[in-house]
């Protein structure tokens, strides 16, 4: 089934609305749903997400009139040879450098699969230098600060703010 809005991509989001006893159905693709402000906690497989992302970037490239040789899906990591095209088929990366090499394409995907989050807040190996360790600790405090503010616990929030400053 095609998306009712763009009539190009396949619809993956199916909405049923009942208004005054009138039932209506809407079928949308990921992107059009997002444009309409629909936040959907979907559990879309990663390969599908990647394909959507790649095709939207190819469209952009095509619109800008760039030649096909800059096709993002064919660009290979110099370390392991992985391409985004291959990753879209089976969502496993080839080496740790891929995260740097394909950062622009992977970050939106990472955020989407981790509910908008993109900074590590957990355990840190002991060999990690103090600077990096502090940064991760700051992330942790910042998150707790957001929560404290949300809960209107200003005492805790002030304490956390001081802790963040002490680490900077």
């Amino acid at each position: 089934m095609l998306c009712q809005v763009c009539k190009e991509r396949s619809a993956t989001i199916h909405l049923t609305e009942i208004d005054n006893g009138q039932r209506s159905e809407t079928h949308l693709c990921q992107q059009c749903a997002r444009q309409q402000g629909l936040s959907i906690k979907s559990q879309i497989p990663l390969d599908e997400l990647m394909n959507t992302l790649l095709s939207s970037q190819q469209e952009k490239t095509a619109q800008q009139g760039k030649p096909l040789s800059t096709d993002v899906s064919d660009h290979a990591c110099p370390n392991c040879g992985m391409t985004l095209g291959r990753f879209a088929k089976s969502p496993l990366l080839g080496c740790t450098h891929d995260y740097t090499e394909f950062q622009a394409e992977l970050l939106p995907l990472i955020e989407q699969s981790h509910n908008g989050k993109s900074h590590h807040c957990g355990k840190v190996p002991t060999r990690i230098c103090e600077h990096d360790r502090n940064e991760i600790q700051r992330n942790k405090f910042r998150q707790q600060l957001d929560k404290a503010v949300k809960n209107e616990d200003y005492e805790a929030a002030a304490k956390l703010r001081d802790q963040i400053q002490a680490l900077t």
Binding site: Q43, G81, P91, L109, H114, K117, D132
Partner: protein, 352 residues
Amino acid sequence: MRPTDLCNYPSSWFSGGSNAVSDIVISSRIRLARNVAGYEFLPCLSTERQQQLHDRLKEALLSIDLGEKVWCVDIDHASDVERNLLTERHLISRRHAKGKGPRSVVLAGDESFTAMINEEDHLRMQVYAAGLDLDTCWKRLGRIDDLVEEKIDYAFDRRLGYLTACPTNLGTGLRVSVMLHLPALKMTGQIEKFITAAHDCDMAVRGLFGEGTDAVGDFFQLSNQITLGLSEQQIIETFSAVIVPKIIAYETESRKALLGKKPRALDDKIQRALGVLRSAHLISSQEALFLLSNVRLGVNLGRVKDINIATVNELFLLTQPAHLQLRAGKILDADQRDTLRAEIIRTRLSSN
């Protein structure tokens, strides 16, 4: 020890005792995904380097204190039936069983710890416990992880945390899963509510054997989807303090409602299941799971008094295909398996 030696025993974590919580939460598991710095992920790793990495990880794991009864199985050279047996006991994943090249699993302490070498990530370690006991799981796994880290440089990034082959495991690399038995929610048609609620909390619901399997016999695996941007404690607490207690309360309530409103329909279902299990001469693993699930509910609710819960839990495992074949000592076709399965169930449920 050989994998084949396991086929006559129940898993320690699968057949824990009976109490209000473990009636519903069969087991808890925490898994960590780790990769070694300087090696490509599995899809781009040459066989030679995969062997080198395998040997390094195996040596590191065997040199640290993992607890009692430590042993290692070479999955690459194991037989199909041995691989299936380990999968049925949740000691390795299907991916690991079907994988390629040098790979192993290190097991310890009555199967409660396993470390898969060269699965989707270089190292996947997990700790199981019977019932709901995530804190104990994490204490043990966290300590083992520290010990491995003294020997191995993990791939780590200050922004993305522990780097994994699949971006869905980034950050903590931590996956919590609890195995739930929810027959009353299923019978009262409320299971969809549970699944929607789980999705709203960014949790995934899967079948008894993990990814890509259906929930058979009212068994569900609930696991976190988000591994990045939360601390290990936060992820674990969401389970043990928020979600699981709610599910236990819903299931308990539904069980009470069934007992109060439809005791005859409930007894009918339980006794019919028991009747079939005690008299069938051919039974598929699907049907056995389904019927044993009803009997398990009956035992938990005190409607079946002459069978103990350990026997029912054991049967879930011992009647799986690879377990049957190893017990018989030969490859069995589907008919032969169904016959042997029915025979084991008949004997165990009548001699109780």
